[in-house]
């Protein structure tokens, strides 16, 4: 059906989206690229001068850079692991017959609607705070020393907060996929004597693999830019224990107001994100006939 006529029409129709996104990408990117070669501090206008690659050199040799790179990966991988595993288990649970399924589903998806800033504030202050938080109260009630989440394991704490926000998303997608599973095939397998575990491994998991891929893809895109949660909870610390790449760029451009350095960091982050994108594309290519 792909006639010459419809090809032209197709081009015409896709062009607004493509042109807009192209401009959205290229204009700030070009400006950022330009700034990244300048010595440009917002607080010292009129001092801009060509800086060559020195912004890049400073960003890449920043002692926090490799920590940030590692933290970013740990955070993304950690959240993905929790949400995918938790999502599968929850989806399996919610797929069972029960009373009040609708209400349980409402309870489970609630975190997805909560603003990241709000959820970070609530978790930090009302739950993880070692003096007034609910966890501290619980620990004291059991005669234990309250655990100082944000100081002792900052990255894990942030991972948990972010995972709480994204668990519903994974659960919903996996649940929808699970509900489309062929019942007859399951029953046939059960007749043939396959236990629940082998049914899960040989029928359910392959069936879910596409949804898992989608969950990973969509979440990675959002997780790479996690920022509010870090700013509100730990400010990237203690030390640089919870500084991610995005947060490092923030420190450069919004705390030091070093537009040049921030721009260089931004470009580095874009390049790294695109490497992730290519990696994901390969993965999707295998799993999704997009």
């Amino acid at each position: 059906m792909a006639t010459q006529h419809s090809r032209t029409a197709a081009r015409l129709m896709i062009s607004p989206a493509v042109i807009l996104l192209f401009l959205w990408m290229i204009v700030p990117l070009a400006m950022t690229l330009y700034f990244s070669f300048l010595r440009y501090n917002l607080l010292m206008p009129g001092m801009e001068e060509w800086a060559g690659f020195s912004n890049y050199r400073y960003f890449l040799t920043d002692p926090a850079f490799f920590t940030a790179l590692r933290n970013t990966l740990v955070l993304v991988a950690g959240v993905l692991m929790i949400t995918v595993t938790g999502g599968i288990l929850l989806a399996l649970l919610l797929d069972q017959p029960m009373w009040g399924q609708g209400i349980v589903r409402i309870l489970v998806i609630a975190p997805f609607f909560v603003m990241p800033t709000v959820s970070a504030l609530v978790w930090t202050n009302m739950f993880m705070n070692p003096v007034n938080g609910l966890f501290a109260h619980a620990a004291k009630a059991m005669g234990l020393q309250p655990y100082d989440f944000l100081a002792q394991s900052p990255l894990l704490s942030i991972t948990l907060i972010v995972a709480w926000q994204w668990l519903p998303f994974a659960t919903l997608i996996l649940l929808t996929a699970l509900q489309s599973l062929d019942r007859e095939q399951m029953e046939a397998a059960a007749m043939d004597g396959a236990g629940p575990l082998s049914r899960f491994i040989y029928i359910t998991v392959p069936h879910l693999s596409r949804s898992i891929t989608v969950v990973i893809l969509i979440q990675t895109i959002f997780l790479l830019s996690v920022f509010a949660e870090i700013l509100v909870t730990t400010n990237g610390g203690p030390g640089t224990a919870s500084t991610t790449l995005t947060y490092l760029v923030y420190v450069q451009s919004m705390l030091q107001f070093d537009v040049g350095g921030g721009a260089a960091g931004g470009i580095v982050a874009v390049i790294l994100a695109n490497i992730v994108a290519i990696f994901l594309m390969r993965m999707i290519g295998r799993n999704l006939d997009a």
């Binding site: 129709m13 309870l107 603003m115 609910l134 989608v214 893809l217 995005t246």
Partner: protein, 279 residues
């Protein structure tokens, strides 16, 4: 023995129910706790041991928050920005998704992936350029400016979601319509769109949620007139003194509208939330 079987099923059902309700309650608990705390006094909010239901319920925090901030305005700005950007995005994305789904080429997947990759740019790195552009075009602190930015931010997701729904619609139906002499426009409006309603609805819902909760651009490119609820929250986050109860009240006010919308429309939201992962 059918009676026995029924008994095991209902015992099993009871176990599943108990487990699911417990898990659901635990996941929901932080939201509930925020809601409860918003009715406590500041002193009670940090009292040890904390009380769950048996405290002196007060609406004082809500009154204080209302007195201090112009909630209706922030609320209205959030509505305009999230709904406006979503509808605009869907308008731009429908034709694009049609092209990708029904006239696929060698580059289709590359185009989709490229679109998604524009979302990976760290926003903080390009804030200053964007701020300069907004200043020069007079878009700072305007709802239209924020609608524009959020449209672009979420456009890749919208295109992707619509594309996956369109893919599931058999091309033959569209072709049949064309045979009957339908123009491309009426083919999309009268044949494709009605069939894709569940998908479009779910796309719209998801993107309203994402736009409602977007906190970077809305916080940085707006000041007073266009500031949505994200800015409203930023004035309660860490003032001097005790603030858990007031923060809880403000948080409840900021998330309640979207939470209620989400709950009422969860069927529509869930039906389409597959990203093409279900065949």
């Amino acid at each position: 023995m059918p009676d026995m079987a029924r008994k095991t099923t209902s015992a099993r059902k009871a176990t599943v129910t108990a487990l699911a309700w417990t898990v659901g309650f635990l996941i929901f608990f932080p939201v509930l706790w925020t809601f409860l705390t918003s009715f406590k006094t500041e002193g009670e909010a940090i009292a040890a041991p904390p009380s769950f239901l048996f405290f002196d319920w007060t609406v004082e925090n809500y009154l204080t928050v209302n007195e201090r901030s112009d909630y209706p305005r922030h609320f209205w700005n959030s509505v305009v920005i999230s709904v406006g950007s979503t509808l605009l995005g869907v308008l731009i994305a429908i034709p694009a998704a049609w092209s990708l789904a029904f006239v696929p080429g060698r580059r289709t997947r590359d185009v989709l992936m490229w679109m998604l990759s524009t979302k990976m740019m760290p926003a903080v790195g390009v804030l200053v350029p964007m701020y300069l552009i907004f200043r020069d075009t007079g878009l700072l602190d305007t709802k239209s400016g924020l609608v524009g930015v959020l449209t672009l931010v979420n456009l890749p997701i919208i295109v992707w979601m619509l594309y996956t729904y369109f893919k599931e619609i058999p091309a033959e139906i569209l072709e049949a319509a064309r045979m009957d002499g339908a123009s491309l426009r009426s083919e999309i409006i009268y044949v494709l769109a009605p069939m894709a309603v569940p998908g479009i609805a779910s796309t719209i819902l998801l993107n309203i949620i994402l736009a409602w909760n977007e906190a970077f651009w809305t916080l940085n490119l707006a000041a007073a007139k266009a500031a949505p609820l994200t800015a409203f929250i930023a004035s309660y986050s860490s003032p001097e003194g005790l603030f858990y109860a007031k923060l809880s009240a403000a948080s409840t006010m900021a998330i309640a509208p979207i939470l209620i919308l989400g709950w009422f429309s969860q069927k529509q939201l869930v039906r389409g939330l597959t990203f093409g992962a279900v065949k």
